[in-house]
């Protein structure tokens, strides 16, 4: 009640934001990011206005999703968590049995009117499930709860690896791990796990597929195969490096415009941006990303329920992981794993899921205030 009263004395835009239940700063940052993404996409697509139009439609759908989820309280989400998780695992099993094959992996589920990847849904449904689980337990979690948490994240991760889609499975697993981390897992337990992980790395290597090993080897030495697997990394690094301080200018990147960068409007769009806008442009972009993530963490920290905190924090850190994996990949720090640059890359699924996730953050932000009074 008092919220509605006090808003009468505020700026009209604030009223609107308030009414829409969104966080102004985060919302503005997302808008700025996706708009600059369109500018880069115009160049990366070679001036294809059709691509811009399609991307705008996706943005519209995504932002609508954001606004819709901003209205849903986190308590409601919490009540759906278990059901969605079970449904997600079921979908992953179905994909493995009868999914559509694309680029050598079974990832797609065809429902007749829409074709989607259940593994994408798991990026949000898994942290919801984990947050739901830990919200009911005393924190910091006991060892038993940690193992249960691992079991919850292991099932979908294993199913996604089986598709095989190493990139997505890592991102899904990370989302779960972020929840465990935020729940307060003790540092010595973390240290033990990291130790175990390092010890088991050679075994893990043994189970990797040839092309996955190739990507890791290529990362270590791109010159190993300059015309094959290493080609993407080499060309991408050339594009980034030749950008210099201020870049070659919009639409003027030779690496981008002359087709040397592979997948330049999707996974490698960061290379295009780096070449045309230079270090200046890339640092600005990273600053915007940093702002969004920190803002997400702040919103989460201010949330009153444990579920909202854990979910909001996991969403923020997941977003960070997408940014880091993509930029790390195109700049040659990480292996090539086919992860789009959040809100910049051309493509529908990730755009819509991401904005929906931010819708949840918005909801955590706005429902807090209602609860507070």
């Amino acid at each position: 009640m008092s919220v509605a009263k006090s808003s009468l004395y505020e700026h009209p835009l604030r009223v609107i934001y308030h009414f829409l239940k969104i966080d102004t700063a985060l919302f503005m940052a997302l808008v700025i990011l996706s708009m600059s993404g369109l500018v880069v996409l115009y160049s990366a697509s070679g001036g294809d206005l059709g691509a811009i139009q399609r991307q705008l439609i996706r943005l519209a759908i995504g932002f609508t999703g954001l606004l819709v989820f901003a209205q849903v309280s986190s308590d409601q989400l919490k009540s759906w968590s278990l059901a969605l998780y079970i449904a997600g695992v079921a979908l992953l099993v179905i994909v493995l049995i009868s999914g559509d094959t694309g680029k050598g992996a079974q990832r797609w589920l065809n429902l007749g009117f829409v074709r989607f990847q259940p593994s994408e849904l798991m990026k949000i449904w898994l942290p919801m499930m984990m947050a739901w689980y830990y919200a009911k337990r005393p924190l910091p979690p006991s060892l038993k709860d940690i193992f249960v948490g691992f079991a919850i994240l292991a099932v979908p991760t294993a199913l996604i690896i089986k598709q095989p889609d190493l990139g997505t499975s890592i991102l899904v697993a990370l989302a779960g791990l972020f929840v465990i981390f935020l729940a307060g897992i003790r540092y010595r337990v973390i240290a033990v796990f990291i130790g175990l992980l390092l010890a088991s790395a050679p075994v893990f290597w043994f189970y990797l597929r040839d092309y996955q090993r190739g990507r890791i080897l290529t990362l270590l030495d791109p010159e190993r195969d300059p015309l094959g697997a290493g080609y993407h990394i080499i060309q991408s690094k050339i594009a980034i490096g030749s950008g210099g301080i201020y870049g070659r200018g919009w639409l003027n990147g030779t690496q981008s415009q002359l087709d040397f960068i592979p997948e330049r409007s999707t996974d490698f769009i960061f290379s295009v941006m780096s070449e045309e806008f230079g270090f200046f442009g890339t640092s600005l972009l990273i600053m915007v990303y940093l702002f969004i993530i920190v803002r997400g963490l702040v919103i989460s920290a201010r949330a009153q329920t444990c579920y909202a905190r854990l979910l909001g924090g996991a969403i923020s850190l997941s977003f960070f992981s997408y940014v880091f994996v993509n930029i790390g990949m195109v700049s040659g720090l990480l292996p090539v794993v086919g992860v789009p640059l959040p809100l910049i890359s051309y493509g529908g699924t990730s755009m819509v899921t991401l904005l929906t996730m931010f819708g949840i953050l918005m909801s955590i932000h706005s429902h807090r205030k209602l609860l507070g009074h």
């Binding site: 009911k136 337990r137 005393p138 924190l139 910091p140 006991s142 972020f178 981390f181 935020l182 729940a183 307060g184 015309l227 060309q235 690094k237 050339i238 594009a239 980034i240 490096g241 030749s242 950008g243 210099g244 301080i245 030779t254 690496q255 002359l258 087709d259 040397f260 780096s274 230079g278 270090f279 890339t282 640092s283 990273i286 990303y289 940093l290 993530i293 920190v294 963490l297 702040v298 989460s300 920290a301 444990c306 905190r309 854990l310 924090g313 923020s316 850190l317 960070f320 880091f324 930029i327 790390g328 700049s331 040659g332 720090l333």
Partner: protein, 636 residues
């Protein structure tokens, strides 16, 4: 128990989360700083390195092949030209299914097996983004058909090239040689920088000898390309410098006359201007069409040329080595004069044969009954063997070798071409070295009539004739008389080079043998009187016959009943006009029988064509030869 565990400390949980969120924010910031450091390293620290790589990526330096110099005849007629040619090239990188593509392409054009084989070989050797030629020569219809359907064949391109073309076909084959595709061996020897854009190189003849001049200097084009290697725009051009145009001393018209005059005979004609060494005619028959070699002759076609029993690929004018036969008699006589062994008017009785004192063996004259009383003039004009057997015996091989060597016999003439051979002027030293045997006196006897070990090329005979025409002076024979100056675009003549002169004590000696050679053509009983019958200028000549196989002591050579390939080679040397020699010529007709019947008429046609500047009269020879039929030319 269980209930106590599920008790939640909300305050503690809030604090834990806050701590973890702060820690996360720090880790995120730290990771982003790591990314920024990485980007700083790429974009600022190593900027120039990556900029260079980027430019290397997009800018390709393409060679511009220079236009090969033209080869012209003395009158400016084009002998070796460059014509546009369209090739079908494929970039394997852009082709998904090569065999499918080739199947589709063969609907539009015919692709032969050897073309396919060469294509796959090239593809294997090169990298996938490099173009490989599938068809080296497309007809205009094929170009049109492919151009219309080009969108259906990604990776397929039609490229325009300039190809060597020899408009005179066979006529100049053995003089010009030809260009062909550069092979592995040549690749290692050529200047790779300058041959970047060049696919062909001179393989033989003038094309090979003047490769450096004809080729020119490569130019470069800086082209911006995309990742598929397609050129988008030209950034910078450094034009190539075309090869030098070369003007030959050869006369196209004479070449054709010689080619026709030899008809279907195997043989060679070399004519030289004795005033400067210009080679006017250089024909070897049979010959071949050099155009066939330019774009790679097929296995079958090549085998047909190689295995042809008339050996069309064999350059008889340059490397054909024949015993000179009686054509050396004039200079043997000159040696006799020089060494004071005889004088022109000194007569002797020449019987049917000659015998060395105390030896059984009879050295027969070609004339069964002998020539009777002869002097030097009639001995040369009637080609009396016995006169020269006796003179040769008196000269001895040492003096004969010393004197004849001055006429460049047994040595390369250094004509500006490739592959010339030396011939052979035998000597005691040579025989000991080559055969490990001493020189026998009988060998001196047959050397005096140009038989035995002695071997000469038609080119050497023409040079020898030039020496006689100039009374001891001669110029190095040359194909190229002028080259076009790259700057002024004018032809500049190349300097003439005098050969080591032949010195005799008296000028009269030259006049004597010259008179004898005039008698060969113009005297009533000269061996080549048939060609002198109606000539309006004065010719000095000498007939010769080179034995293909030995005849036993008491056997007689019967031309009629000897198979064609075992018949004697006919030779004829001549120069004219005698008062002011303009042309010295040597003709060899393989298995042509006697020099007078088949070789001399060929020479006459060329002399007429050159000196009278009109077509020779066909009937002279035909009519006269009938009269001579049945006459035997046992030897010489």
């Amino acid at each position: 128990m269980a209930r106590r565990i599920t008790l939640k400390n909300l305050r503690l949980e809030y604090l834990i989360f806050r701590e973890r969120a702060i820690l996360s924010a720090i880790l995120v910031a730290g990771t982003f700083i790591l990314l920024l450091v990485r980007l700083y390293d790429l974009q600022i620290t190593n900027f120039s390195h990556y900029q260079t790589l980027s430019d290397d990526n997009r800018v390709r330096v393409l060679p511009i092949a220079p236009t090969r110099g033209l080869i012209l005849d003395r009158n400016g007629e084009i002998l070796a030209d460059n014509t546009p040619n369209y090739q079908l090239v494929i970039t394997p990188l852009q082709v998904e299914d090569m065999s499918q593509l080739i199947r589709t392409l063969s609907i539009f054009i015919t692709i032969q097996d050897h073309e396919l084989e060469r294509f796959y070989k090239t593809v294997k050797r090169q990298q996938a983004f490099q173009q490989a030629p599938l068809k080296l020569k497309l007809t205009e219809q094929e170009v049109a058909k492919l151009a219309v359907n080009q969108h259906r064949f990604p990776g397929v391109e039609i490229t325009a090239h300039s190809t060597r073309y020899y408009p005179q076909k066979n006529t100049f084959a053995h003089a010009l040689g030809y260009v062909g595709r550069i092979n592995e061996k040549e690749l290692s020897q050529l200047d790779n920088q300058n041959y970047q854009g060049t696919s062909h190189v001179g393989k033989l003849g003038i094309e090979k000898r003047y490769e450096k001049e004809l080729h020119g200097t490569v130019g470069h084009k800086h082209v911006e390309i995309n990742a598929q290697g397609r050129a988008l725009r030209v950034l910078k051009t450094q034009p190539s410098i075309p090869g030098v145009d070369i003007q030959l001393s050869l006369v196209a018209r004479l070449q054709e006359v010689a080619q026709d005059a030899l008809e279907d005979e195997n043989g060679a004609v070399v004519a030289i201007d004795p005033n400067n060494g210009d080679v006017l005619t250089f024909v070897s028959r049979p010959n071949y069409d050099p155009n066939a070699f330019v774009n790679g002759i097929g296995q079958v076609a090549y085998a047909a040329l190689r295995d042809n029993k008339h050996r069309p690929l064999y350059n008889r004018a340059l490397i054909g080595q024949y015993p000179p036969g009686s054509t050396v008699k004039p200079i043997v006589a000159l040696a006799g004069l020089e060494y004071n062994l005889t004088w022109p008017e000194k007569t002797m009785y020449a019987g049917p044969f000659f015998q060395l004192p105390g030896k059984e063996r009879k050295y027969r004259d070609w004339k069964k009954e002998g020539h009777g009383i002869v002097d030097m003039y009639s001995a040369i004009s009637q080609s009396c063997d016995v006169y020269f057997y006796k003179l040769g015996d008196e000269l001895g091989i040492d003096r004969m070798h010393e004197f004849l060597t001055q006429f460049n016999l047994g040595a390369r003439t250094q004509l500006d071409t490739v592959g010339e051979v030396k011939g052979l002027m035998p000597s005691r030293e040579w025989k000991r070295a080559a055969r490990g045997e001493p020189w026998y006196p009988g060998e001196t006897i047959i050397t005096s009539i140009g038989q035995g070990y002695m071997l000469t090329t038609p080119l050497q005979l023409a040079v020898m004739t030039g020496y006689i025409a100039n009374h001891g002076k001669m110029f190095k024979p040359r194909f190229v008389r002028a080259m076009r100056n790259v700057d002024t675009f004018k032809f500049e003549t190349t300097p003439v080079v005098e050969m080591t002169p032949v010195k005799v004590k008296r000028e009269n000696y030259w006049r004597a043998i010259e008179q004898a050679m005039v008698d060969v053509v113009h005297a009533p009983n000269g061996t080549a009187r048939r060609i002198g019958a109606d000539v309006t200028y004065k010719i000095a000549g000498k007939t010769g016959t080179a034995q293909v196989y030995g005849i036993a002591q008491d056997e007689e050579y019967d031309e009629e009943n000897t198979p064609k390939h075992l018949r004697d080679h006919a030779l004829f040397i001549a120069y004219a006009p005698v008062e002011d020699p303009q042309i010295a010529i040597a003709v060899v007709v393989e298995n042509g029988g006697s020099g007078s019947s088949s070789a001399a008429p060929v020479a006459r046609k060329i002399l007429d064509a050159y000196l009278l500047n009109e077509q020779p009269i066909e009937t002279i020879v035909k009519a006269d030869s009938h009269q001579q039929e049945g006459k035997q030319f046992v030897s010489r």
